[in-house]
Amino acid sequence: MLSRVGSAKRVAVLSIAAVFAAGCAHADEEVSIAPLVPAAGRVDPGLGPGTRALSSGPGYKSSPSWSPGGDRIAFTVDGYVVDRLTASGDLRNWTTRDFIAEDTEWISEDTLMILGAASPSGTEETPSSLYRARAAEDSLELETVEKDVSAIGPGRGGLIFALGRGAFGSGLALTRGSGDVRRLYSESIKGRVASLSLSPDGDEAVVAVRPPGDLETSGLYVFDLRKGIGREIMRLDGNQEIVGTPQWTGQYLYFVAGEKDEPIDRDGSEPLYEIYRVPQEGGATEPVPGVGEDFVAASIRVSPDGERLAVIGRLNLKSPTNLYVLDPLAKDLTAVTTNEDMEIKTGPDDLAWSPGGQSVAVIARGTPSTEPEVRADPADRLLRDFYNLYEIPVDGSEDAPR
């Protein structure tokens, strides 16, 4: 027993000495900090499994648009237009860096239609024009298709676009696959067209309109592209506005709307917007069933097969922003991303279905720090520090989250 106590004392003394030696030793002045995962198509853990980066580096990215074959994706960076192979590759410029694009649409594998304006010379507002750009040409010259264009959307075999007509009116036109204007409709729409998209069969267009004298986009029209006539479907009351592009699936028109001047909500972020639907022939507008009463919507986009809606929004005010897919018939809302610490961009044109409907491109970044950040990669390889494009698998992929 004596030896046991003596041994215990020795162990205790040695342990105490070791603990103090380790605990009081000053840490090295230099420490290793694991760098971020570099770009180039790696899976990004911030949005869920299967996510693939489609861009990297600095720049405010917007308006992704997949080429018809799905092997390239175009988008705007700080206003100018670029594209790249989805598999890999460098960016290819379509405009000079002083160009300010609002939207882009492919009309063939090598032709991009661009809505935007060359750099304004002063502070006066410059109306946007529709331009055509071809990949085969070496220069960044753009060919003007039409001036005073307010909205574009993919058309059947070309493009559909809205152009200003007088002070308070708009007209619609179609282009061929070459980008030439094929049909200019004579019937005018009262108001300024803010956005438009096609019906599933491509014979009609749903159009969001800012009526004359109204400060907000509040009217919804359906325009028959065969007969060349349009009709108003509904108009929102008060300060309510339609944001983004209305979508058409099944027998309903879907749109995101809310009160523009509504006070900032309780978490101090943004006004509340919901997804609504209205029958294509007109009638009562109602909140879309299946998303939940507290859902805060930002943008929607119908799938290529016309049966599902990609939705960027939040389940409630306390939830993170995620990408969801809504099956309107089944009234089923499925989360596609598992966002924990990313800021998913909520602009009306900041999501795009791939042509096959197997994935959706979104734009996201990590939460910016208020302190300087040091990274161990060149700036053009960084992902989370800047808004970048990500391909999110929706279905047809084993990695797609359910």
Binding site: S15, V31, D78, V374
Partner: protein, 167 residues
């Protein structure tokens, strides 16, 4: 009596081990002024390598004003002396449409094996006026400035650090 001494010693030992562990953790959590980011991820090339060490406090003291300076340490991690190590600093905006890219370069003549050299850059950090009134769709946010520092040996081995300064 011996049992009491034994158990008291055990209790004291457990207390000291716990306290020591907390002391150790507290020391580890103390942020050092200088950072050596894991260089393996940022190196290009093979052969003798260099490391870049930045002073965190100095980076935090940078302001959007003229006459800013940054001193960094270029460390020779190899077993042989390095000659003519190129150190570059690129300063540019997060907004890639703004034409304000600035490039600075210095050459370190000699760095003995296992030693380091200090390199100082002087530059302006100015929030430049945008040349035109760009609409919010182009970029509605206040842009951050980026410092990209690169050390390259004559053999082509390089190490990069990117500093992103808040607006």
């Amino acid at each position: 009596m011996r049992d009491i001494i034994f158990w008291l010693s055990g209790a004291a030992l457990a207390f000291l081990v716990t306290a020591g562990a907390f002391l150790l953790l507290a020391n580890l959590a103390t942020a050092p002024s200088q950072e050596r980011l894991n260089p393996e991820q940022a190196r290009v090339g093979s052969g003798q390598s260099v490391d870049l060490i930045l002073d965190r406090e100095q980076i935090a003291s940078l302001r959007y004003l003229p006459d800013q300076s940054l001193t960094l340490i270029v460390e020779n991690e190899g077993g042989e002396q390095l000659s003519d190590v190129s150190v570059t600093l690129n300063v540019f905006s997060e907004n890639t449409a703004l034409p304000n890219f600035r490039h600075y370069r210095q050459t370190v003549q000699k760095i003995p094996a296992g030693e380091a050299a200090r390199v100082r850059f002087e530059f302006d950090l100015l929030v430049r006026e945008e040349p035109v009134a760009r609409p919010p769709t182009a970029n509605p946010e206040q842009s951050r400035e980026i410092l990209e520092i690169k050390a390259t040996t004559p053999e082509g081995n390089s190490t990069v650090r990117t500093v992103i300064l808040p607006p």
